[in-house]
C-alpha cells in the first residue's frame, strides 16, 4: 500500500485528523500557560515581554505558521470525512435514538469544530493581526527597546461584555470538542487498553475538556470583572 493510498483510506484520513488534533492539543497547553500571565498584577510586563518574544522569535514564528496550516489541514480532512459520512446514509431515520446510544457532543464534533474555527478567525483578527500588522501602543520595561503593548489591547477588548461572551462560547465549544476529541484521537491511533483507558479518559475529560477551556475562559471573565 503506497502512502498516497494509505492516507486516502478512511482510517488513513482519520489518522491525519487525529495527529493534527493531538498537535493542537499540545498547542493549547502552551497557549494557556502564556496567556495566564495576563492575570499577573504587573500592569502587563510579563505578558507583553512574553508576547514580544513569541511574536519575534524565528523558530516560534515558523511553528506559528505551521500551526495555522495544521488547523486548516485538520478542518479540511475532517470536512472531507464528514461529507463522506453523510453520504453513507442518504435516507435518514424517522426516529433517532437521541443520547441513548452515544453522547451528543461525540456526534456534534463538526458543529463544535465549526464554532471553534469561527472563534479562531475572530480571535486571530483581534489580537494576532493587531500584534503583527496593527498599530499597538508601545511600552518599554527597564530601559529595554520598546515593545507592542498587547496587554492594553486585550484589556480594552474585554471591556465589552459581548466579546467576553463570545470567548466563553468559544471555550464551551473547545471543551466539548476536546472531551470527545482527545480520547477519539487515541482510539484512532489504537490506544485502547484496559490498564490505560482510565488515565486517557482522565486526561481527555478533566485536563483537555475542563481544566484548559475553563482556564482560557477565566481570563476574559476576570479582566471584564476587574474593569467594571
Amino acid at each position: 500500500m503506497k502512502w498516497s493510498q494509505f492516507f486516502n483510506t478512511s482510517i488513513g484520513k482519520k489518522l491525519l485528523v487525529g495527529a493534527t488534533g493531538l498537535f493542537l492539543c499540545s498547542f493549547v497547553i502552551v497557549h494557556l500557560a502564556g496567556n495566564l500571565s495576563l492575570l499577573k498584577e504587573d500592569n502587563g510586563e510579563a505578558f507583553n515581554i512574553y508576547a514580544a518574544f513569541m511574536g519575534h522569535n524565528g523558530l516560534i514564528q515558523f511553528i506559528a505558521w505551521g500551526l495555522k496550516i495544521v488547523i486548516l489541514l485538520h478542518a479540511i480532512i475532517a470536512i472531507q470525512l464528514t461529507i463522506r459520512n453523510r453520504a453513507a446514509r442518504p435516507v435518514k431515520y424517522a426516529v433517532r435514538p437521541g443520547n441513548k446510544t452515544s453522547s451528543w457532543y461525540s456526534r456534534q464534533m463538526a458543529v463544535m469544530g465549526s464554532i471553534l474555527f469561527i472563534f479562531i478567525v475572530i480571535h486571530l483578527s483581534q489580537f494576532w493581526w493587531a500584534m503583527h500588522y496593527g498599530d499597538l501602543n508601545t511600552v518599554s520595561y527597564n530601559g529595554a527597546a520598546p515593545i507592542g503593548n498587547l496587554y492594553e489591547a486585550v484589556w480594552f477588548a474585554f471591556k465589552e461584555l459581548w466579546i467576553v461572551a463570545l470567548y466563553v462560547i468559544g471555550m464551551i465549544a473547545l471543551s466539548f470538542h476536546l472531551i470527545h476529541g482527545f480520547k477519539s484521537a487515541c482510539q484512532t491511533f489504537g490506544l485502547n487498553h484496559k490498564k490505560y483507558n482510565g488515565i486517557l479518559h482522565f486526561i481527555g475529560v478533566w485536563i483537555f475538556g475542563i481544566l484548559i477551556p475553563v482556564g482560557f475562559a477565566v481570563i476574559p471573565v476576570v479582566i471584564y470583572i476587574k474593569q467594571i
Binding site: F6, S10, I11, L81, R84, N85, A87, S106, T188, F189
Partner: protein, 249 residues
C-alpha cells in the same frame, strides 16, 4: 395489548417508500417481536394484502438475519438482543412503534424492512479468512495460544454480521464489524501469516462499499447484540497502521 405500528413499506429498491400504519390487537406479552409480525402478516394475507417483508432465520438470536430499526434503536430497546429475542413485554398497551429498515447506502433496501447486506460478504471475501492447505487435519492444541488472546479472539468471533453497528452508527460505518473479523484472526497464530494483507484489503473493501468512517461515538458497541467491544476497532486501527507503514508495495 393493543399497539399502533408504523412500518416502512417499499415495493423495491427503485420505488419510493412510505410509512404505513397498522393497528394490532390481542398482542401477547409472551410473543417475540417477529411473532407479532407473523400474526400481522397472516391477517394481511387473509385480507388479500401484501405481507410485510422482513428478514429472519434462526429466531434464536444467533444468525444475524433479523434487522429492524425499532423506535430509533437497532433491534429495539433491549441491550444485547436481536429482534427475534425482543419480546412484546418490552412494550405497553397503546404504544406506538415505528419500524424502519437499516439505513445505509451500502445496505440498499430490497423490500420493506429487508436490506441487502452482501457488502459484508464482500468485506469478508476481501480477506476475512485464513488460507489453509489441504492435507491431514492438524492435531488439536498443537499450537499453544495465550489464554487472553484466545478469549479476545473468541469474543470478537461472536459477531454475527447482523449490521446493527452500521445501522446504529450516525456515519453508517462498518468499523465494528470489520474490526471484529480482523481481530478474531489477527489474535490467533493461524491468522498471522496474512494479517497485514488482510487488514489492508478488508479496510479497502469497506471503504469501497461506501460505509462511512468511524468517529468513535460508541453507538455501535451500545447496540451490538453480541457485545462486540470498541477495543476491536482500536485493534483494527493498530493492524492497519502496522500494515500500511511496513508494506513494501
Amino acid at each position: 395489548m393493543k399497539l399502533t405500528l408504523k412500518i416502512w413499506r417499499q415495493q423495491n429498491n427503485q420505488a419510493k417508500g412510505h410509512f404505513e400504519t397498522f393497528e394490532v390487537s390481542d398482542v401477547s406479552k409472551d410473543m417475540s417481536f417477529l411473532e407479532m409480525f407473523d400474526v400481522l402478516n397472516e391477517r394481511l394475507i387473509n385480507e388479500g394484502k401484501e405481507p410485510i417483508a422482513f428478514d429472519h432465520d434462526c429466531r434464536e438470536g444467533i444468525c444475524g438475519a433479523c434487522s429492524m430499526y425499532i423506535n430509533g434503536r437497532a433491534h429495539g430497546p433491549w441491550h444485547e438482543t436481536t429482534t427475534c429475542q425482543l419480546h412484546m413485554r418490552a412494550y405497553n398497551d397503546g404504544d406506538t412503534i415505528v419500524v424502519e429498515p437499516w439505513r445505509a447506502s451500502a445496505f440498499p433496501v430490497i423490500k420493506d424492512l429487508t436490506v441487502d447486506r452482501s457488502a459484508f460478504d464482500r468485506i469478508i471475501q476481501a480477506g476475512g479468512y485464513i488460507s489453509v492447505n489441504t492435507g491431514n487435519a492438524v492435531d488439536a492444541n498443537a499450537i499453544p495460544i495465550d489464554k487472553t488472546d484466545a478469549d479476545h479472539a473468541f469474543a470478537a468471533a461472536a459477531c454475527i454480521g447482523c449490521g446493527a453497528c452500521v445501522a446504529a452508527c450516525k456515519n453508517s460505518s462498518a468499523m465494528l464489524f470489520t474490526s471484529a473479523k480482523v481481530s478474531q484472526l489477527a489474535l490467533l497464530p493461524q491468522g498471522d501469516p496474512e494479517r497485514k494483507q488482510r487488514a489492508m484489503d478488508m479496510v479497502a473493501q469497506m471503504d469501497k462499499e461506501g460505509f462511512g468512517s468511524c468517529t468513535n461515538t460508541g453507538a455501535c458497541e451500545a447496540e451490538c447484540p453480541k457485545g462486540i467491544s470498541l477495543a476491536n476497532i482500536a485493534r483494527l486501527n493498530r493492524e492497519f497502521i502496522a500494515a500500511g507503514f511496513s508494506s513494501e508495495a
